[in-house]
């Protein structure tokens, strides 16, 4: 397996992430899905009480079992505490690990299956082990099956802390029991524009679900992406949590977004055309772009493309390309694509150039990307 497949390589940054390929089923709204399991090992304290030696002991035990677990064609291991800052940020941007794992210098690790990066295992984050599967589209049953199988193969050689009463024991009692967090990422621009996203958030909260943004934070959702996930982990089996999300919650919200999109077109066509047109104009012509305004504009351009509004269907890239741009305009990905470190101003310039090329198909010197390829130049 060559270095080009490492998740922080420039080839990987240019290729994008598998979970942003878009899905065939409900792909107009559903972007990706994720299943995460939290586990701890007996014989070691939880991480708030663990010494660096304990942490190294956990990492050794986990690595030994990973070596024989057969989780994928190839498995990358990283001592995250020894990784440079840019590589850590790249892994966070790709959703392979959390911001918490990227912080600090205490021993911690990450394993990622290659080349598809569908499985990642964080070691010494909030719990000793966090097994995660991320897939494109509405593939939650498959993501659960893969995460659970990985869990079984790790547990075959590790003594996992479990009690018949409380289930899988976790450092934070709010995760105890199944230790599972299942989530689906949805693109909900119409619900956000109409203001009805607040109703969705309240209804989700009433049902014991949480609604978070692209990177899981509570702030305004970047790019109109919203992740809906279960909060309760005890007293309900995984199959029930899965079924509720997969069969009830997500289809309901998908229908709600589609209805909101139809209403925008039927009742406020000029307004929504104007918003999509302005967004496309920004992407086609801006010379400096921040990440936030880029994601907002990409979201509206995607909506315009799906609804055939304001010339948005004539962008030079397909839907998967638009989604990948959401990742590639992030600060660390941008620098890895450019293959150089850049300060904020340089990143704003490069971001605007990259987006303009992808949206219009034209390079800065007036050639199209097709002409450049024919001349042996690799367009960005």
């Amino acid at each position: 397996m060559s270095d080009a497949h490492a998740p922080w390589s420039s080839a990987s940054a240019r290729r994008g992430a598998g979970w942003l390929l878009g899905g065939a089923v409900d792909g107009d709204v559903v972007i990706s899905c994720r299943v995460r399991l939290a586990r701890n090992l007996r014989g070691f304290p939880f991480l708030t009480k663990a010494s660096p030696e304990h942490r190294l002991g956990v990492m050794d035990a986990v690595r030994a079992q990973l070596a024989c677990a057969g989780l994928g064609p190839a498995l990358l291991w990283a001592n995250v505490h020894e990784l440079p800052s840019l590589e850590r940020t790249l892994l966070v941007e790709r959703h392979l690990m959390s911001k918490e794992l990227a912080k600090g210098d205490l021993p911690r690790g990450l394993a990622v299956t290659l080349p598809d990066e569908s499985l990642s295992i964080m070691v010494n984050e909030e719990d000793h082990l966090r097994v995660q599967c991320v897939l494109a589209g509405m593939a939650l049953p498959r993501a659960w099956a893969m995460a659970s199988e990985a869990d079984d193969r790790l547990e075959a050689g590790l003594d996992v802390a479990y009690s018949p009463r409380f289930g899988y024991l976790t450092a934070c009692p709010t995760n105890v029991g199944t230790g599972v967090r299942m989530s689906v990422m949805l693109h909900l621009p119409a619900l956000r524009i109409s203001g009805e996203i607040e109703k969705v958030k309240r209804a989700a909260s009433d049902m014991g679900l949480s609604v978070r943004g692209f990177y899981g934070e509570n702030s305004e959702a970047l790019g109109d992406f919203f992740q809906i996930s279960n909060q309760r982990t005890l007293g309900r089996p995984e199959g029930l949590i899965l079924g509720e999300l997969h069969e009830q919650i997500v289809p309901t919200v998908v229908a709600y977004e589609r209805a909101a999109r139809r209403q925008l077109v039927e009742r406020q066509r000029r307004t929504i055309e104007d918003q999509c047109g302005r967004a496309l104009g920004l992407l086609r012509h801006a010379r400096l772009l921040t990440p936030e305004e880029t994601m907002g504009a990409l979201s509206l351009t995607r909506l315009g493309r799906l609804l055939s509004l304001a010339d948005c269907q004539n962008v030079a890239t397909d839907d998967a390309g638009l989604l990948q741009l959401m990742l590639q305009v992030q600060p660390a990905h941008l620098q890895r694509i450019a293959e150089r470190q850049m300060d904020q101003q340089q990143r704003r310039e490069f971001r605007a150039d990259l987006v303009r090329q992808r949206i219009t198909g034209a390079l800065g010197d007036g050639r199209s990307t097709g002409e450049a390829t024919a001349q042996g130049h690799d367009p960005v």
Binding site: A145, R165, G167, L234
Partner: protein, 266 residues
């Protein structure tokens, strides 16, 4: 703490609740045996260490009567200890080694964490905390999980469970290390039999812990229900009628629901 009868180190502690009034006595092992506080006559079943010996709950007087004046606490209700109580709970617990544990009361014996420290960090220190931090932690867990207090769902294979991912999980893994499915299935069946006994014993311990809590909180109706469940489990162990693990029905549901077609599990 000294024995109420002979001033040796007290390691057996009895709490008697009669007519809603609570009385305690603390005795050494020898005096406890003389009083019949544990052993076959007290109706106890096989005991795990560090847990109540005899969570006996009867409608009659329990064991030998407390000699008048020897029971600490407010048991004096004018009726004397020989009268027929409406509902009497007697809980006897034994801690090994009396005073040889330096941990503070209410702290985890594994890592020393207290509930006060937990409230600051919102993180536990080790797996033992779940056993040792008692009712406060349990009630917090119930609150966060809408009243649920027990795990339902996947359990580790070493306890004899079928893998929750089923066939779909196997297909989903692209790997050269495919398990020997037939051999694994045989081993899992044998493991399940071993696991059942382990699981019943573990469930029994969990019920006993909850019974201790219920009695200490004077939740008598709950305590009576828990006592009945314990009796059923004891009967299973004695007669050998240990049923296959409760997880099987969920495993069946889980397998059906995890096909890549995404059918809804029941």
């Amino acid at each position: 703490m000294k024995c109420d009868r002979c001033q040796a180190e007290a390691t057996v502690h009895e709490v008697v609740i009669r007519h809603g009034k609570r009385a305690e006595r603390h005795v050494c092992e020898r005096c406890a045996a003389k009083l019949g506080l544990f052993g076959p006559e007290a109706g106890s079943a096989p005991v795990l260490p560090n847990e109540p010996l005899a969570p006996t709950v009867t409608a009659d007087q329990v064991g030998p009567p407390l000699p008048a004046g020897e029971a600490k606490g407010d048991a004096g209700d004018g009726e004397g200890v020989g009268g027929p109580p409406a509902m009497t709970f007697s809980l006897v617990s034994k801690l090994p080694g009396g005073g040889d544990r330096a941990t503070r009361p209410g702290a985890c014996r594994g890592c020393g964490l207290t509930m006060a420290q937990f409230r600051q960090t919102e993180r536990l220190g080790c797996p033992q905390c779940y056993d040792d931090l008692g009712a406060s932690l349990a009630s917090l867990i119930e609150r966060v999980n809408e009243g649920a207090s027990c795990h339902v769902g996947k359990k580790p294979r070493r306890l004899g469970a079928e893998p929750a991912s089923g066939e779909g999980g196997g297909r989903a893994m692209a790997s050269s290390g495919q398990p020997n499915l037939e051999g694994d299935a045989r081993e899992r069946a044998a493991g399940r039999a071993r696991g059942d006994a382990v699981e019943v014993a573990a469930r029994r311990k969990a019920l006993r812990d909850r019974l201790v809590q219920a009695v200490s909180l004077e939740q008598y109706e709950l305590a009576a229900k828990l006592r009945d469940e314990l009796s059923k489990l004891d009967a299973m162990l004695v007669t050998g009628l240990v049923q296959p693990g409760a997880g099987e029905s969920e495993q069946g549901r889980g397998r059906g629901g995890l096909d890549s077609g995404g059918g809804a599990p029941s």
